[in-house]
């Protein structure tokens, strides 16, 4: 980094030391994250300079054409709405299923075993994402694992089974995509809720019960509100990334249930229309941001006074 004399000078102020310390990762993200994000915003406002002959126009032309296309073509509205609906249902299901697990680990597992449980919960999340998605297809598909298990789940000594012949659970692409995504983002939802539950002062709960609340009302009136910051974080951390997921709809829906992310991928990679793709991405992120902000505003009373 700096020479020794420069380093000695830097040392005198804490701010300078801090700034020089944050400089390497800071510059990296400014150059390779902030600048590219602004490039996308910029690109979305100009006509793709490449003409049919492959020549580039000298200067980008400022235009709202891309946005006009994204916002007026019915197909993109359908894709966006479908993406939003799937992301919202994935978020709802994931967080709903995750809360009891986080609660169990925080309240009913011995402190020495907590990290082991969290480790077990996070392991599947670190393993290859596309292989996991594909295996869900194997589980839910025609004559898949789920179907064969149900075919063998019979009333004893009779031929009456849950399923009489193989069937596919993939025919409803939305359900299949939702299950797969809910599986993929489970740890993301569990961890923030767990952290919030861990912070709750256990004496509050005892106080609640000493004052005559039942276990259930203690949960509703004390535990749940105090864990809301974690719940809100879980909702955001599942909702935002799922909107950008295109592997799952591609593999599970077999291309029959494209989402907005698939349309962006098609524009960016297959059609090389980066301007239109960028406009779509910016629009999608703007809508996601709007929904997220709305959600935060609705829940602002739970976030007051928490520093995180």
């Amino acid at each position: 980094m700096e020479g020794t004399s420069g380093w000695a000078r830097f040392r005198r102020s804490e701010a300078a030391s801090g700034l020089s310390m944050i400089a390497p990762p800071g510059l990296y993200v400014i150059l390779l994250l902030a600048v590219p994000l602004f490039t996308v915003l910029f690109v979305s406002f100009y006509t793709d300079g490449v003409t049919e002959t492959g020549a580039k126009t000298a200067l980008p032309i400022l235009t709202f054409e891309n946005y006009a296309e994204v916002w007026t073509k019915p197909i993109y509205r359908v894709l966006m709405l479908r993406s939003l609906m799937i992301s919202l249902s994935v978020t709802f299901i994931t967080v709903l299923l995750a809360y009891p697990i986080a609660y169990f680990v925080s309240f009913h597992v011995a402190p020495s075993k907590k990290s082991l449980w969290l480790f077990l919960i996070t392991i599947p999340f670190w393993t290859s994402y596309i292989i996991r998605v594909f295996l869900w297809k194997v589980v839910l598909g025609y004559n898949g694992v789920f179907s064969s298990v149900l075919e063998r789940t019979c009333v004893p000594f009779t031929d009456v089974c849950v399923l009489s012949e193989p069937m596919s659970f993939l025919t409803n692409g939305a359900v299949a995509v939702t299950i797969t995504l809910a599986h993929a983002y489970a740890p993301f939802a569990i961890l923030p809720i767990f952290v919030a539950l861990e912070k709750i002062d256990r004496s509050f709960l005892e106080a609640g019960q000493d004052l005559g609340e039942s276990k259930f009302t203690t949960f509703v009136r004390v535990t749940l509100p105090l864990s809301m910051p974690g719940l809100i974080a879980a909702v955001m951390i599942v909702f935002i990334p799922t909107v950008g997921d295109y592997v799952t709809p591609d593999l599970m829906g077999g291309g029959k249930l494209p989402l907005i992310a698939n349309a962006i991928e098609t524009q960016m990679l297959k059609l090389q229309n980066r301007a239109l793709g960028s406009a779509m991405a910016v629009s999608a992120m703007a809508i996601v941001a709007l929904v997220t902000i709305l959600f935060l505003v609705l829940n602002r009373r739970f976030l007051r006074g928490t520093s995180r």
């Binding site: 700034l19 944050i22 994250l33 596309i130 594909f134 194997v138 064969s148 935002i240 950008g244």
Partner: protein
């Protein structure tokens, strides 16, 4: 817990069912990898190791694997290196702009991966950069640095500042203090961060797919194989090995993460994130 509680059998049952749900796809991997049939379905057809043999003879696969290993090694090194600076800055110093810069560093955790991948693609192509494994490394570092920062921050957080001050009083420079006192204490955190970033990079798909250009990457190769049903059992064999490798690396990472927190006198509060 001083109150004696009834056994929470409901929660426990739910937790076990939930774990089965989480692990179901992974547990199926080895079953189909050793199953003597091209079709992935029950009933099983018999035991075979031929899919592993087929995998072993696939030159394309090894080419992709080599690229992915190089990318994962480079990514883990750079992300851990950058994470060290960020974690040290965030736990030790106060400076103007701290919140926004750290926020930007952590942003890839919540940003859809695709947005990350496409913005890099647009920016790199705009300045005339050719796509290669190098561009994948750039993307993976962005994606994994937040994980490194999270792991290293918890290692730095419980570091006793008086150790550092004692070193200064004994005439050490900041650089030598860092090397002699701080670095050994956070070493387990560094190992843990390296292994986690390595595993994530090896398995990552979207950024690899967008930024690799014509270079084959392991995850993109796997994705491509799913289009050919005859190749799927081979991918199951490969997946079995990858998942085993991941679990081993993560277990080692977890061991070091806990040891790191214990070494600086803290107590482990939970998982990696």
């Amino acid at each position: 817990m001083k109150r004696v509680q009834r056994k929470p059998w409901f929660h426990r049952t739910y937790a076990v069912v939930y774990l089965i749900f989480l692990y179901a796809p992974i547990l199926l991997l080895p079953i189909f990898a050793f199953n003597d049939s091209v079709i992935l379905a029950f009933p099983l057809e018999g035991f075979t190791t031929k899919w592993f043999g087929e995998m072993w003879e696939d030159a394309q696969l090894f080419n992709a694997l080599r690229n992915s290993l190089v990318v994962a090694l480079a990514t883990a090194s750079v992300a851990t290196f950058l994470g060290l600076f960020a974690a040290r800055a965030s736990t030790r110093f106060r400076f103007p702009g701290k919140g926004p810069v750290l926020g930007l560093i952590m942003l890839p955790l919540v940003l859809p991966e695709m947005i990350l991948a496409m913005s890099l693609l647009v920016a790199l192509l705009a300045i005339g950069f050719n796509l290669s494994t190098f561009t994948v490394i750039i993307g993976h570092v962005l994606f994994t640095t937040p994980l490194a920062v999270a792991i290293l921050t918890s290692a730095f957080q419980s570091l006793d500042r008086s150790l550092e001050e004692a070193a200064y009083d004994l005439g050490e420079t900041p650089a030598s203090t860092f090397r002699l006192i701080i670095l050994p204490l956070v070493m387990p955190g560094i190992v843990s961060s390296f292994l986690i970033c390595f595993t994530v990079s090896l398995d990552e798909f979207i950024i690899s797919y967008f930024l690799s250009g014509t270079e084959p990457m392991l995850s993109a190769y796997i994705y491509g194989q799913f289009r050919f049903p005859a190749n799927v059992p081979k991918v199951m064999a490969l997946g079995t090995i990858l998942v085993l490798l991941s679990i081993c690396l993560l277990a080692i990472a977890e061991y070091y993460r806990r040891r790191g927190i214990a070494r600086v006198g803290g107590k482990s509060s939970g998982g990696v994130l």
